[in-house]
């Protein structure tokens, strides 16, 4: 609160950068997970139809899961904060 303007700006920049890094890591690990779970044959160079369907569902399911975890996690954090 009592930080000078310059420091507030620096803090905001740091948060932005951590969020960018976090999104890029999430993207990378989502690709790795869905590839590992969905692609198992290597007779072709291109993604087969049922592999593509599997990847789409996997990504969608993971994102929904991640949002649900985020909501529950926020509730628990809030509960912990009000118990203080």
């Amino acid at each position: 609160d009592s930080l000078p303007e310059e420091d507030k700006l620096r803090m905001a920049t740091m948060i932005d950068q951590l969020q960018i890094r976090d999104s890029l890591r999430m993207y990378n690990s989502l690709v790795e997970r869905c590839f590992t779970d969905c692609v198992d044959t290597f007779k072709h160079k291109s993604l087969q139809k049922q592999e593509e369907t599997c990847v789409r569902r996997c990504a969608e399911k993971f994102l929904k899961h991640s949002m649900r975890v985020g909501m529950r996690f926020a509730e628990l954090n809030q509960g912990a904060a009000t118990q203080d």
């Binding site: 420091d7 620096r10 803090m11 740091m14 948060i15 951590l18 976090d22 890591r25 999430m26 690990s29 997970r33 779970d37 969905c38 599997c54 789409r56 569902r57 996997c58 969608e60 399911k61 993971f62 929904k64 899961h65 991640s66 649900r68 975890v69 985020g70 529950r72 996690f73 628990l76 954090n77 912990a80 203080d84």
Partner: protein, 86 residues
Amino acid sequence: MAAAPNNAPTAVDKEQIFGMAEKEMEYRVELFNKLTHTCFNKCVEKKYKEAELNMGENSCIDRCVSKYWHVTNLVGQLLGAGRPPM
């Protein structure tokens, strides 16, 4: 740690403050990521027959997050951390 002779924080003090804030945020992000991946592994069917989470998966996820939270607190106590771990 090292107190500056006057009240204005030195450049090194500032590095420490920003560094601590950064580590704290990194910790929370990592906690969230590990929790997310662990509960996905424990609760979600991996054949991906549909893109929706079904009721069983949803309730498993809620309980998994709750239990993970308890384990985080329990391990935090064992490690003797004075501050709330989440």
